[in-house]
């Protein structure tokens, strides 16, 4: 999203084959990542997949059992947390309860011997940045969750770190506030020019905020890509299902001839795929995003594959509706946009509809 991100240059952070075990649990398993300077980088994965552990190793609170962490090309692995040019916004905020807002923000400057005048200037600046002016004298127990969040943010930003680590900073906020803070973070990031590394298990958050996302599961990084690629070109079944929803199909190669492969998609029919996307196997797995279906009461003439289906259930989401359908003995999901007020009157449970797909929308998964 940001044109300033230069993925080709030397990375700000390089994580090299990092592993961390807790007894029998391998929390982080041979992870290698490059985080480019100025990126808004997101680590996305389900609960317990090792995101916090990885972040804590970058901050210096955990030591990797194997591997190295480099910052600006320098090995940081043995550097204690208070000497790393990295700051963290904790999952629980960790705002000091015995200090006022002002003292909280000034703390990181005071303990490193920044002169008083500069402290005053920078704290004011940081509080303005997170829009907390006028709250300097308050104590944390007099603040709302979102305000505490901002204090934690200002406290880290005032240090002008090379890298800002954010551990699910928005997960405790209600939806509206979360969306506001998301916008705020994106704005902040452009104003301060600091590299952000955001941990989240919320795929919408990652997709809308980050310009690079690493998807993790069970301690491993499965795919690193920009949001669009991640959504449109998931490489594995896990990524396809974790980011948004996907209709998955088992495919069997029926025939190969001059650059195209005929693949049978379960009982739904056959499609022709370009050979280079298929590989040499005889079985493959295909994914289709639900909004890629063309839902039509009549048979769609232009579709590469048309499937007759029965509408089982319908969930209304305001801007879209999610249709649960049955075709060829299996469940399918489709999403339609409610562009017209009232929606399509023919889409009622029990209705017979046609689903059409374009081959270009099908994704061939690696597993």
């Amino acid at each position: 999203m940001s044109p300033r991100v230069d993925v080709s240059g030397p990375p700000l952070v390089r994580i090299e084959g990092v592993t961390r075990r807790f007894g029998p649990v391998v929390a982080v398993d041979r992870v290698s990542l490059d985080i480019p300077e100025n990126a808004f980088y997101a680590l996305l994965g389900p609960s317990g997949c090792g995101k916090t552990t990885l972040l804590r190793m970058i901050a210096g609170f955990e030591q990797p059992d194997e591997g190295r962490i480099l910052l600006d090309g320098e090995d940081m692995t043995r550097v204690p947390p208070n000497r790393r040019p990295v700051n963290m916004v904790f999952q629980s905020y960790a705002v000091f309860p015995h200090m006022t807002v002002w003292k909280n923000v000034a703390y990181g400057l005071e303990v490193t011997g920044v002169p008083q005048g500069e402290i005053r200037r920078r704290v004011e600046e940081a509080l303005a940045l997170v829009r907390l002016e006028g709250m300097e004298a308050r104590r944390p127990h007099q603040l709302s969750g979102g305000q505490k969040q901002r204090v934690a943010l200002a406290r880290a930003l005032v240090k002008r770190p090379r890298l800002l680590l954010l551990d699910e900073p928005l997960s405790a906020l209600d939806r509206k506030l979360r969306e506001d803070m998301q916008m705020e973070l994106v704005r902040l990031r452009h104003e301060v020019g600091i590299t952000f590394l955001l941990v989240t298990h919320d795929q919408d958050e990652a997709l809308s905020m980050a310009d690079r996302i690493a998807v993790m599961n069970a301690g491993r990084v499965l795919q690193v890509a920009d949001p669009r690629t991640l959504y449109e070109q998931p490489r594995t079944r896990f990524v396809a299902e974790f980011i948004g929803t996907a209709n998955l199909f088992e495919g069997r190669v029926v025939a190969r001839c001059d650059g195209t492969v005929r693949v049978r998609m379960e009982d739904l029919g056959e499609v022709r795929l370009p050979a280079e996307s298929v590989g040499n196997g005889t079985h493959l797995r295909l994914a289709l995003r639900p909004e890629k279906w063309r839902v039509d009461p009549e048979r769609p003439p232009a579709a590469d594959l048309a499937v007759a289906a029965r509408l089982v259930e319908m969930a209304y989401h305001g801007d879209t509706s999610r249709l649960h359908l049955e075709a060829g003995g299996r469940r399918l999901v489709a999403v339609v946009h409610n562009a017209r007020r009232g929606g399509d009157p023919r889409l009622v449970p029990g209705a017979r509809v046609w689903l059409g797909l374009a081959v270009a929308d099908l994704v061939v998964l690696e597993d």
């Binding site: 609170f61 204690p80 947390p81 963290m88 990181g108 303990v111 240090k159």
Partner: protein
């Protein structure tokens, strides 16, 4: 919380035994002593409550006031030493591995398993002129002298080992109080530190503070409730102690507790003893109030 306030029956029913106990065994005797302070001896055991102020007048004698002051000083020094010794202990237990934690806590309260009198006598055996400590020191002295003599340094050691006079003086009393009341400091400190949110300490390190600074600027201020309870739990009993000063102190180490004890027992002057007791009680209140006030002021200035 609110819903609990709406169900007062739970509180009343569970409160009754405690309230009765306190009324019968604490407030009633206390009221009795308060009354006796206004009495006159009318015979070997009989005391008439005449509402005389003579006992208080006598209790305010400079001799007693000096003892009050000395008891305060000794209790304050002992409490301060307790705090300094107990903080690292409590911190170490807090950060100890979960498996050894119960063991460490047990070690802290282990001295409670023996009677105070036994413990104090044991301390005498260690500290007295020909006790274990001095025997050990003498052994080291002899060894050092044997080594030093061939080197021509034997002169430095003198011709006779002079045992340290560590018993029967004020430092011995302070040492005894610290030893006996240390667990009362460690336990409340531990209880507060245990509840401390670890991510606050990490946040402090993350913001560039050293461990030392984190200790002073985050751990100590947040341990304040534990410090307050610990100080009260040590200071108040230390102020009234008589057994420790009796056994470990010298003739000049008498504390106000010893005087009060003597009035009730040997001197059989219960009214004076009662008046002295209540003066001590009032003084303790004032001391704690002053301390709480200065504490609060410091806290406000720090925030």
């Amino acid at each position: 919380m609110e819903s609990w306030r709406a169900a007062p029956a739970v509180f009343w029913i569970t409160l009754v035994p405690g309230v009765v106990w306190l009324l019968v065994f604490f407030f009633a005797p206390l009221a009795l002593i308060w009354l006796l302070a206004f009495g006159e001896r009318a015979g070997p055991v009989a005391i008439d409550i005449t509402w005389t102020l003579d006992n208080y007048r006598q209790a305010l004698d400079p001799l007693y006031l000096g003892l009050f002051w000395k008891s305060f000083r000794i209790a304050a020094v002992a409490t301060a030493i307790c705090l300094v010794v107990a903080f690292p202990v409590a911190l170490a237990v807090t950060f100890a591995d979960g498996r050894v934690k119960p063991l460490l806590l047990m070690l802290v309260v282990l001295p409670f398993w023996t009677n105070l009198l036994v413990r104090t006598y044991a301390m005498i055996a260690v500290l007295r002129t020909r006790g274990y400590l001095n025997s050990g020191l003498e052994y080291l002295w002899m060894a050092a002298k044997t080594v030093a003599t061939p080197l021509g340094l034997g002169e430095l050691f003198g011709d006779r080992f002079r045992p340290l006079e560590i018993l029967y003086n004020d430092p011995a009393v302070i040492f005894g109080i610290v030893y006996v009341y240390l667990p009362f400091m460690v336990l409340p400190l531990y209880a507060t530190l245990e509840r401390l949110d670890r991510s606050l300490l990490e946040a402090s390190l993350d913001l560039g503070a050293s461990h030392w600074r984190t200790f002073w600027r985050v751990i100590v201020p947040l341990a304040r409730p534990g410090i307050v309870s610990g100080v009260i739990l040590v200071f108040v009993p230390a102020l009234g102690t008589f057994l420790i000063s009796d056994l470990l102190g010298g003739p000049s180490s008498q504390l106000i507790g010893n005087v009060i004890e003597r009035q009730f027992k040997a001197a059989n002057n219960v009214p004076l003893g009662a008046a002295l007791s209540f003066l001590l009680l009032y003084a303790t209140f004032v001391a704690l109030a002053l301390w709480a006030w200065s504490n609060e002021r410091m806290r406000r200035r720090a925030g």
